[in-house]
Structures are given as structure tokens and as C-alpha cells.
Amino acid sequence: MEPKRRALLAAVAAGALLFTACAATPGATTSGGATQAGAGEFAGTPSGTLKAWGFENADDVGQSRLDYVAKQLSGVTVSLDATAFDSQKFITRQASGDMPDVVQMDRALVATYAAQGLITPLGECFAAQNVDPAATYYKNVVADVTYKGDIYAVPQFFQPPAIIVNNRVAKAAGVAPEDIDTSNLDTLLAAISKMYKEKNGKPTTLGFDPQAHSNTQLWMLALGGKLTDDQGAPTLTDPANAAAFEWLKKVYDAQGGFAKVKSFSDTFDFFGDKNQYVADQVGAQMNFQWYPNVLASTMKKIDIWTVPIKDASGNTFAAASGSAFVIPAGAKNKAAACAWAVGLTSSESWMAAAEARAATRAKDGAPNTGLMTGRPDMDQKIKTEYVKSVGNEGFDQTVSAFYDVLPSGASFGASPAGESIKAELSNALISFLSGDKDANTALADAQTAAESAYQSVVG
């Protein structure tokens, strides 16, 4: 090869590599950082363009709140990326310095992102908006988004869990709703056995579906387990967790075992006209507060009654995740982001949503089950003004029962390894229920993995 040609090729190659290297030079700084935003960044009249990410497929509640806050912030132009949160997309945008000013994400993720310095503490934001989070939101909801004493998100929604009993199945089996008592395993197992039916070795009616594989943290806490310590470090080998695993195994084994229950529940028409309550495929099932909205369309075909989840002492227990608004460290318009996020959870915004929901329900001829906003004052006000009897005792009781469990809310705890803890715990439970590992081994393996994730952040 001639020297000139060799030099030309070398230059092309070097140029391309230089271009690549420039695209991601180690040590390059971004507009982001882990520093706490000063009060000045949140204070002042919101203006300019606000880049927001969230509200995928916004329903009447979401849209009415967006409309309300748009009117309030008339000097702000909102550019909304109405897609679901995606960690890969967040990371890509962070790395490229193109962060939105405000992002909607699951509360379970907040501590993880806070620990990485990717989002901003919002103490000054709340102060600038004259909002006292402790007096505004449920304590457990605030705890979900608090990391090392700082609140990192504006929370919204707390839709607690309870157990919706299928009265038709229960009555036929001689079971009363009170028998679905999670504080008394023997009574519960007896009720499950009475309601459970199978054909050719396959379930046709479950006694009680706890949906534990996708709500493992909820059941651990309800059954006295412990997920994290005060610092957010995982404590999955706590003996109470193994006991909770055994409790759940007995519940599944009383109705064919986990594999059969899981495969059967996967076939439910969960959101459809032939849902598991219409088709009598469950005697009882754990569900969250939004689910009665789904059942409302089939109200005339079902007979339901709702009982709370109880801890071992017989006290009502509720824990649920939800979403929240965070302001990335790299946000450029933090004042508008703060005003927008807080405005979306203001009392006026929620009342606008409640009005919109009432109108939608009236138009559809469906019952209004209320809104569970994450704010106790709003929940009660909306209930008083908009939640009316629908003339169906069981449905009315169900709506009321979910309101009754609201004060019993508990936090899952905020941990920098929150995602990992949740995933590892779920894996451990499935490994145990599938017979792959015993409870202690499964939890020990989960602890090792979660501890590694925790140490990689704080270590």
C-alpha cells in the first residue's frame, strides 16, 4: 500500500474514532448533577417551555388535571412526551443531556434514582409552592419518596389493596366473607378448601387468589416480614420473611399448588365482560382500589363483598405503590416543573378530575367509585361529593371498604436498591413456590443479589 493511501485510510479511521469518542467522552460534564437545587431555581413566576414526560394514554382524570394546570400556568408552554416511563430512555436522555424538566415514574423507583443523583430533592420546591408534604399527602406515600430525609417526588394516588369476595361462590360453599381472614390461617385455609373446585386435576374455581407472585412485597409486609432496614439496606433473610413464604405456600397448596393457580389465573378475562367474578373462577381475590372500576361494567352479573387484608394481630393492612413526579437533576426549567407537578396534585386539580370522572360515569351510566389521590383531604371530599349509592349493596360496600382501609396505609420503604429488592423477592418466592429452592435458600440468594445492588450504590 502506498504511503499516501495508507495515510488517507488512517485519517478516515482516526476521524471516525475521534467522532465516536467525542460522542461520549469520559469526564464530560452534563447540565445534570447530584446537587440539590437551590430555592432560586424553584422560586419565581414559571415561564418558558416545560418539557414533561408522563401521562401515557391519559384518561378523563389525567386530561382534566393537565387542562387545569395548563390554565394555571398560562405563561408556560408544555411539551408533553405522553409515553410510559422507561429506564433505558431515561438513561439515554440523561447521557445525551436532553433531560425533560419533569418525569412521571413509579414511586418504587424514586429512591433508586435519588441515590444515583439523577433527580433533585424537592424540599425547596414544596416551600416555593407553600405546600407542606407531611400535612398534604398520606404519611406512607411521602415515606415512599423520601430518601435520607429528603423528599424527592410529588406523589399522586394511593389505591390500597383489599380482598374482593365472590359472594355467589362463597355462599354456595357455606363460606362467609369474614372467613377470608388473613390473620387466621386455619380459618382461611378451611374457606379456601370449601370454595376450591377442580376438574381433571385442573382448577375451575380458586378459593383465594392472593396474586402473590406480582405483589410479593405487599404480602411480606402484611404477614410481618421485613424488606429493608432504616438505611434502605435489604433484610430479606429476616426469619419473618421465611414464615411469610410458608404461609403463602399453604394458601397455594390448599388449591392445587402455585403452578396450577398461576396458570389458571393467567387465563382470566381480567378486564373483560367474562372476568373471574362473572365466571365464578374465584371465591376471593386480592385486588387494588382501581379494580372495582373494571367490575362496574359487569355489576349486574356479579355479587361481591370486600374485606380488608389483616396482619397477624388482626389489624387492617394496606400498602400500594403509585406514581409520582420527579424533577431530574439535569432539568433546565425547574421552576415551571415544580409548579406543574405541585399544581397537578393541588386540591383544585383533583376536584377538576373528580368532576370530570363524575361526568364520564354519568354518561356511561356506571357507578362512581371515587378517586384515591394520595391526599386524605381530597379523598374524603371527593367521596362526600361524588360517591353515591348505586343500589347494589355489595358494590356499595366494596367502594366503602376500600375507603375504610386508607388510614391503614404502610410504606414499602425507600431503598436505593428498591427495584432489585422487589425483583429478587419475587424471584425468591417463585423459586420457593415452584419447588426449586427451600424458603431460606431462596431468601438467602435474594439477599445476596439485593445486597450487591445496594452496596454498588452506597458502598
Binding site: 464530560a28 460534564t29 440523561q94 413509579d106 427495584e419
Partner: protein, 314 residues
């Protein structure tokens, strides 16, 4: 190019023409060269640098970590589980894909009328989006009501809990992989069409039946393609991601909706380390380990192929 330039016998005008022709050729392929340098070579070099560092996403900075990320590869029990799952998958999936693809290609090669119709029909599954395929297999593989277990039930066989029982999770993902085997089938079909007819005629005159002809004529003649497909499928097998992720690991908030470690494949774990736990350095080290494993396996396959693969003209 270099040989031509050095040749003293070529006239000056010819040399100049060849040089211009080479430059034009380079210009035409320059988009690929730039793409390769930026998106492949550049990304690989960056990944290598990343693997020796701890990357802070919030500050977009790297701190030199030495061999720490590589050392962790040997002490991470989840990585060992993911690698083991992936190896089992490759061992199950590659032979199954080869057999099914070759079987389908043989059927198509034998088809007379309507061959085009069948070729198109057989290829359609490849065109189905992965998400749609995963949703369909969630129903097909349901342990209680799935069509596959109902089919087995006709023969008195009680099918397993495919997607729940840890022992059957990998075979169920292999089944899902077989759904998209038509790409491999088309390559086999092309190879089968290229086997000289006269070889079959001669074999037939010598008294060879269909099985003998397949064993002694077809297989040797398509062995280069067989080798090619084995290598390509092995590489793809080590990188399996879509099927496991869609069936078990979609939950954005980290909870595994029905997943356990038995469905944790190497690429899924790598993705989790990078994009869920922000351990980019460790994820990059994982990527390089996988690269080395694939290189080693390919080298072994290549060495073995020298004894088994027949190249015409050699």
C-alpha cells in the same frame, strides 16, 4: 490492490486507473466504513474502556476501576446462573432449530406445485412481531388450558406447567424460538436447490434409497451451509433476549411477573445491570465475557468443521 500497485510491469496509465477505481470503490463503501467505525468498532472500543471503569451516569464521568468489574464476573452467583441457563438454551435450541429448519426445507424442496405458496406461508411466522408471538405463546403454553397441553392430552400425556415449572421454562422458550425458524429454513432451501441433480441420479443408479441419498449426497453437499447456520444460530442463542424478556421480565418497575432465576438469560441480566441498576462498567465487562465465549465456541466449531464440512473444489 496492493499487488497491482507494486507490479512494475503495468503501464503508468493503468496504475492510475486502478488507483482511481479503488478510490471510487472506497467512496461507495464509505457509508458502511463510517458506520462500522462509529457504531461497531467505536462502540466496542468505548465498551472496552467502560468495562475497566465505574461510570457515574448523573455526572457522566468515569473512574478507573482496574480489573474490578472482571473480577466480579467470577464471584457473581446470578451471572453463573444466567450463563448456565444460556448454555442450556443454546444446547437445546441450536440442534432443534437445525433439525426443524432442515426438515421444513426438505419438504419445500420436494414440493412441486404450490411451492411458492408454501414457502411464503412457512416464512410468515418470521414476519410476526416478537411481542405478538410472545402473547400467543403465553396462551399456547398455559399449563392448564394451553393448546399444546390439550394436544398432548389427546395422547394421554399430561403436559407440564411450561411457563411456571423451572424445569420447563427453557424448553418453552426453545419452542417459541422454533416459531421463527423460517429464516434458517430459507438458507437450507437455497443450499438444497444447489445440490447437483446428477449426484442423486448416480446414487439412485447405484441403488441408494432416499435415506442413503440424504446421508451420502445431501448432507455432504450442504455441509458448508449446515456449518454456517450452526455458527450463526449459536451466536444468536448466546444473545437470546426477546423471548425471555417478553415472557418473564417486562415489568418496568423491576418486579418479575412470574419470573424466576430459571428464566434469567445472560443478555437479560446484562440489560438489567446496565439499565435497571446503572452498573454500566460491569455490564460492559459482561458483554466482553460473552464476546470471548462466543469467539471460543465459534473457534471450536470451526476446528471441528474442518473434519466434517465438505467444500466443493477443495
Amino acid at each position: 490492490m496492493a499487488k497491482v500497485a507494486r507490479s512494475p510491469k503495468l503501464p503508468r496509465q493503468r496504475v492510475r486507473y486502478n488507483r482511481r477505481e479503488a478510490l471510487v470503490g472506497l467512496a461507495f463503501i464509505s457509508p458502511w466504513i463510517v458506520g462500522f467505525l462509529v457504531f461497531t468498532a467505536g462502540a466496542m472500543i468505548y465498551s472496552l474502556v467502560l468495562s475497566f471503569s465505574n461510570y457515574n451516569l448523573a455526572r457522566n464521568t468515569m473512574a478507573y476501576a482496574g480489573w474490578a468489574n472482571y473480577e466480579r464476573l467470577f464471584t457473581d452467583p446470578k451471572l453463573a446462573a444466567a450463563l448456565s441457563n444460556t448454555l442450556v438454551y443454546v444446547i437445546l435450541a441450536v440442534p432443534a432449530e437445525i433439525v426443524v429448519a432442515l426438515g421444513l426445507a426438505l419438504l419445500l424442496a420436494a414440493a412441486g406445485r404450490g411451492a411458492g405458496f408454501f414457502r411464503t406461508t412457512f416464512y410468515l411466522p418470521k414476519m410476526t412481531p416478537s411481542v405478538a408471538t410472545a402473547s400467543m405463546f403465553l396462551l399456547l403454553l398455559n399449563g392448564n388450558t394451553g393448546a399444546i397441553n390439550q394436544f398432548l392430552g389427546w395422547f394421554g400425556i399430561q403436559g407440564p406447567q411450561w411457563l411456571v415449572d423451572p424445569a420447563w421454562i427453557k424448553p418453552s422458550i426453545v419452542l417459541m424460538t422454533l416459531w421463527g425458524v423460517s429464516g434458517t429454513m430459507v438458507i437450507f432451501l437455497a443450499a438444497l436447490k444447489n445440490v447437483p441433480r446428477e449426484l442423486y441420479e448416480v446414487a439412485s443408479l447405484d441403488g441408494a434409497g432416499p435415506i442413503r441419498q440424504f446421508w451420502n449426497v445431501t448432507l455432504p453437499m450442504i455441509s458448508p451451509v449446515l456449518f454456517f447456520n450452526t455458527v450463526i444460530l449459536s451466536i444468536a442463542g448466546f444473545q437470546v433476549f426477546d423471548q425471555a424478556y417478553l415472557l418473564f421480565w417486562r415489568d418496568q418497575s423491576g418486579g418479575a411477573a412470574g419470573a424466576s432465576d430459571s428464566s434469567l438469560f445472560y443478555a437479560v441480566y446484562l440489560f438489567q445491570q446496565a439499565f435497571r441498576q446503572f452498573k454500566f462498567g460491569y455490564a460492559a465487562a459482561m458483554a466482553w465475557l460473552l464476546f470471548c465465549i462466543i469467539m471460543a465456541v465459534t473457534a471450536i466449531q470451526r476446528a471441528v468443521s474442518k473434519r466434517l464440512v465438505y467444500y466443493e473444489g477443495e
